[in-house]
């Protein structure tokens, strides 16, 4: 018996059946299901259901649906920004205090300077920065996000954004995977498995990186707080900082649509396919499970990953900064060498160096950058405070508003972290698409920052 024979037989047998035989079977399946369900379920009228529907009519309404979404997003980000700011400073003070104490202890014991430096100014400093910059925003954002997820709001987001994705030639479920990307882009990429069509799934994978993941939020939050909101105080400053972050997120979403649109008309041509999306009932979130998931599974996990890359990165920076070449050091030399290119993008050499060192995990960009700058020794107001960072960057290293804005744009648009690239490779099983994902994002980042920098300089704003 050959496989071919069976196929031929199946073909010929299909000929004996009436053309719509499968439809007939599906139809009878459905009608049987209907009869059986009707027999088994008795309905009484009720109010809860009506309430669910009323809420749905509101949050998925074509007029106020999107604004409600925006307000919810803003509230979550505002909570994150205002809470993280205070906590970050406190944690930084404690951790840097411990660092001073450790350094003193090592000196007292009489250990050689390079051991003290390597341990406390290299590895420890890297860890201290990562924890103080990343932990607070994550500890606030993740529970809030998980709460919305448990409540059942995410599918409503998909419902609201469906028409936009369709216009871009992409799948409506891409809004679900995009939402997942806020937590972690690698997770967002895996979540694209819910999209049936390979073409639309690839679009979702390639554009997922345009929403800032939790590793990149702290960068945005720090820059928004230190620069954009610098002139304000109290609630006003946190509102402005949050508004800035929301703005950056919206730019990311806009790029998601734009890139999906471009891809669906060039590399991945095709029509958007229709799909059914079930709006699940609203469920009362289980607080203890939310806390468990968001703190243990998400916050601690992501932080641990960041720490694993931050420790060696700290060590590398310290070594680079302490290998003297002539009257300069290796870190400076590399940064100086990268500087012209950095300036072209409105950034500088140190930022690019930090990005290269931080390829394994984007979340350590800011800490890495800070450490290279601090190697030059310019920290007046204490490292954890906004004023201290402002001092270091503006007075110490010649940052302008352009640098801050372009760094935010660069953080938003640049290539996925190593984990995400690996995940894309695993999901697509193709070196080509993994490479395309890097080229698209990095290309966009270079292009956009170059354009903003040139425009700003042309207008004479900097």
């Amino acid at each position: 018996m050959e496989a071919n024979e069976i196929l031929t037989k199946a073909e010929s047998l299909r000929g004996t059946l009436s053309t719509g035989f499968r439809d007939e079977i599906v139809k009878s399946l459905y009608s049987q299901a209907e009869t059986i369900a009707k027999r088994a379920v008795k309905t009484a009228s009720n109010k809860k259901y009506d309430l669910d529907q009323k809420i749905d009519r509101l949050v998925t309404s074509p007029i106020v649906g999107l604004p409600i979404m925006l307000v919810l997003l803003s509230i979550i980000i505002w909570l994150t920004v205002s809470g993280a700011n205070v906590a970050s400073t406190a944690i930084a003070n404690v951790l840097f205090g411990i660092g001073d104490w450790g350094r003193a202890l090592f000196n007292q014991v009489g250990l050689p300077w390079w051991i003290t430096g390597f341990v406390w100014d290299g590895i420890y400093l890297g860890l201290a920065w990562v924890i103080s910059v990343m932990l607070p925003p994550m500890a606030i954002f993740f529970p809030a996000f998980t709460f919305m997820e448990d409540l059942g709001y995410l599918p409503r987001v998909a419902f609201n954004l469906d028409w936009l994705f369709k216009k871009a030639g992409a799948h409506g479920k891409q809004s679900l995977t995009m939402a997942m990307g806020f937590g972690c882009n690698a997770a967002g990429v895996v979540a694209t498995r819910v999209i049936d069509s390979p073409r639309e799934r690839l679009i979702a994978i390639l554009t997922n990186n345009f929403v800032p993941c939790n590793g990149r939020f702290p960068t945005l939050i720090m820059l928004a707080t230190v620069f954009v909101a610098a002139g304000f105080s109290g609630v006003a400053s946190s509102v402005i900082a949050a508004g800035t972050v929301v703005g950056v997120v919206l730019i990311g979403v806009a790029f998601t649509f734009l890139m999906s649109w471009i891809l669906s008309r060039t590399l991945l041509k095709g029509e958007a396919s229709a799909f059914t999306l079930e709006l699940p009932p609203y469920r009362r979130p289980n607080i203890s499970r939310i806390l468990y998931t968001s703190i243990i599974d998400r916050t601690i996990f992501v932080l641990w990953r960041a720490m694993q890359t931050a420790a060696p990165a700290g060590a590398i920076i310290w070594i680079l900064a302490n290998i003297t070449v002539g009257d300069s050091n290796l870190a400076r030399l590399i940064a100086d060498w990268l500087n012209p290119f950095g300036l072209l993008l409105g950034l500088d050499g140190v930022i690019l160096l930090a990005y290269i060192i931080a390829i394994p995990a984007n979340e350590i960009v800011v800490p890495t950058m800070m450490m290279v700058y601090m190697g030059a020794g310019m920290m007046v107001n204490g490292p954890g405070t906004s004023a201290g960072i402002f001092d270091l960057l503006v007075n110490g290293n010649g940052w302008t508003m352009l640098t801050a804005v372009n760094l935010m744009l660069f953080a938003l648009l640049h290539n996925p972290c190593a984990t995400t690239i690996m995940t894309i490779y695993k999901e697509t099983k193709s070196l080509k698409w993994a490479t395309v994902s890097v080229v698209i994002t990095l290309g966009t980042a270079f292009l956009v920052t170059f354009l903003t920098a040139s425009f700003t300089r042309l207008m004479g704003w900097v």
Binding site: K9, S18, F21, Y49, G152, R193
Partner: protein, 278 residues
Amino acid sequence: MTEKKTTPPTENCESCPAFYNLEQMGFKIGNFDRVVALAGNPNTGKSTVFNALTGLKQHTGNWPGKTVTRAEGGYQFNGVRYKLVDLPGTYSLLSASQDEEVARDFILFGRPDCTIVVTDATALERNLNLVMQVMEITDKVVIAINLMDEAKRKGLEVDARSLSRDLGVPAVPITARTGEGVHTLLATVADLINGDIVTKPLRVEGTPEFQKAVRELAPMIEQLAPGVPNARWLAIRLLDGDAKVQQALMSGEFGQLAARQQQTDVQFSRKMSVEGRQ
């Protein structure tokens, strides 16, 4: 089995694992006696059932399509060790998306000793389509009617006995979140595997021509790939022109697919809980 309880069980006891000799075994699934699959529509609480039985903390979320790979865990019930496989939630088993393929391949080629189809009591009609598709593939099916508490709040009354009678397989009402009915579900699964419960799943009959075609084609498939799990279902898929099944047939993949499903595909891990299941 020795009975240690001195007081008669109260209603609260039922939600306590100790009451029904359930031991949650988490990852300890190396040494198991039985394999049970969890199928169902998206967002019906499969992962909640999975967590309740295995004691694992697989992330659950209120949106359809959250689980896209299969996760495995273990539990022990009345001295028998079960491996529990949580499949992606799907509306059907007929399309080409990856999550549906994962679910379908496992139910067919993984030959679980029993497949629990988790259904949403508040949307039974829609859920039954999948139940009936699973019943086309295997007759070892137990229906778990989940979210009974939600149904009650919505004023719905679900008659499990009527459902069970019509479909020819056992149906057990449960509320996975509180653990209500889980004991009965596990006992039913055990009875079904032992042969104490015999199912007679309702299957679509089709026209006489259709039945004749299936009768002709199925033996040919069995001849080509001896021991293939459900030649009848494969024959129907071939008649329907299912490209995936045709492809598997041509490349002689049926045997391989069956072998592959026996291996552990993806073990639940914390890494996955962050990277794959957020």
